[in-house]
Amino acid sequence: MTATATSAFADIGRSDAALRTFLHGLPGVDQVGAEQRAAMLGTRSIKTTAKAWAIDLAIRMVDLTTLEGADTPGKVRALCAKARRPDPADPEAPAVAAVCVYPSMVPVAAEALRGSGVHLASVATAFPSGQAPLDVKIADTRAAVAAGADEIDMVISRGAFLSGRYAEVYDEIVAVKEACGDAHLKVILETGELATYDNVRRASWLAMLAGGDFIKTSTGKVPVAATLPVTLVMLEAVRDFRAATGRQVGVKPAGGIRTTKDAIKYLVVVNETAGADWLDPDWFRFGASTLLNDLLMQRTKLRTGHYSGPDYFTVD
């Protein structure tokens, strides 16, 4: 695509009307088709060396997450230690991509991760509901970045999006992106609250047009979190967005991915939908807390030849 195309996209954010025209002009998602395609890709058999490769890649893609009201500095430090060295019994096991915490825990995590190469992500903008005034969200973001976060996970205002106030959502993402400075911005769409795949596609494009570096499925705080078809729709969006503008955007499914089998299904969908360019921790992440232990157990199984158990890995 050309520079004129890029600038054409730049104009879209000017008004609600332009955004609506563009977003509603996107082709609709074939719901049955998307679900069948995801289910079909989920049946691929990945074994032995390919499986070992996929497991290591998945470990390197994990955003090790703790987002509980009960988080303490001690728990966050323990999580950071695990992020740096997931399997103390095997130095070959790669480190995870990032640790994801609440803003108040960012200073603790920054200290614990210094020099490790593990990124530090913080949720911001009144996570998980997003129901706060814009200046509070901006301040939330600035505080997290100032404390040392190099990735920000923001939530969009689903209320505004669902009622069609697209420009409001757009402006908010632009403002938060500005507040991020050099930090990467992940935009959480909370697909479980968007109701349709068409909305997921629209929200994905909206977030990408507004400057998000990553689009992320969910907060993990609502009953329906990441699903394979939703991720498929988002991966199609980032693929099409790169084709249209030349800018590559990452995807992060979060919540509900607990087993190695699930993770490998996602990797297959990534490869078959967006392409091998996205099979990299810079462009695809898993937001998860329990997934890592299952990956480590499967890794140990491949290494030792017998099944491992949860007793041999730390809980957090």
């Binding site: 030849g305 017998h306 099944y307 491992s308 158990g309 949860p310 007793d311 041999y312």
Partner: protein, 274 residues
């Protein structure tokens, strides 16, 4: 009216309270019936199911566990003829029913017999109490497919353990039929998981599994197999019950050996106060 077509039965595994086919899709023929041939991944799934059931089952009151074991005896009684139809001797079926009742009675008595208030030189209550070991792998006796099976499973679960059983390879039908009894006896899913197939194939995976806490090798009659399974079990210090050197008379008084083989003793010190 035409003659009815017979409904031929496919005997499946019993894992987590459900009756899945083998993950591998394989089966083998026993007495003109198809029986699932379990693979290592079925072992893995069964251990996951057994582990998930530990908390609820070991946390249930001893009284409740006893009631459920008694209920199993009731349901088995109701299917007595079915087991005889599978070729079991009536005396074996009756003994199996009685064995459930006998072990059911032990559920709330074992702590009195094997627990203790220990005298210590200090102002403390010092109490020892038996607790379940956790997930127990069981190689069931191949030569006594019902009475032998009940005699190894009942003592393991009555104290709160959960089990993954490798049923008799040559005579698996009573084991799968027993699973149907268990499934209708209020026994929580996952407490007993029954796999049919080749012990040489699945046994090593069960014995080496790091999330299994104990293994009962009563049914591993070949010395070489028993030896290799015990070696595999050593990696995470499983409790091991070795196969008997002499043939076991399953009709004899079972004693408490199998009951206590899968217990850990917890001792607590508590200040007496004034």
């Amino acid at each position: 009216m035409s003659d009815r077509l017979a409904v031929r039965k496919t005997y499946k595994l019993y894992v987590g309270g459900k009756f899945p086919r083998s993950e591998s899709g394989r089966s083998y023929l026993v007495q003109d019936s198809n029986v699932a041939l379990a693979s290592r991944k079925d072992v893995r799934d069964a251990v996951v199911a057994a582990r998930a059931a530990v908390k609820g089952w070991s946390g249930a009151t001893a009284y409740n566990r006893g009631q459920i074991l008694y209920r199993i005896a009731e349901m088995l009684e109701g299917r007595r003829d079915q087991f005889i139809g599978l070729g079991e001797a009536p005396a074996d079926v009756d003994a199996a029913i009685d064995r459930w009742v006998w072990y059911a009675g032990w559920s709330d008595k074992i702590a009195q017999v094997y627990g203790n208030a220990n005298p210590v030189a200090g102002p403390y209550f010092n109490l020892s109490a038996p607790e379940p070991t956790g997930v127990v792998g069981v190689v069931a006796p191949p030569d006594s497919p019902l009475l032998g099976l009940v005699s190894v499973v009942a003592p393991a679960i009555v104290t709160g353990n959960t089990v993954v059983v490798l049923a008799s390879e040559g005579q698996p039908l009573p084991a799968v039929t027993l699973a149907e009894v268990l499934a209708t006896s209020d026994l929580p899913g996952g407490v007993v998981n029954i796999l049919t197939g080749r012990v040489e194939e699945t046994g090593p995976w069960l014995a080496a599994h790091m999330d299994v806490n104990a293994i009962d090798l009563t049914g591993a009659l070949e010395a070489e197999l028993a030896r290799s399974l015990e070696e595999a079990a050593a990696d995470n210090l499983k409790r091991v019950v070795r196969p008997s050197a002499t043939p076991i008379d399953w009709h004899a008084d079972p004693g408490l050996g199998r009951l206590t083989a899968f217990l850990e003793t917890k001792t607590v010190w508590h200040p007496k106060g004034v």
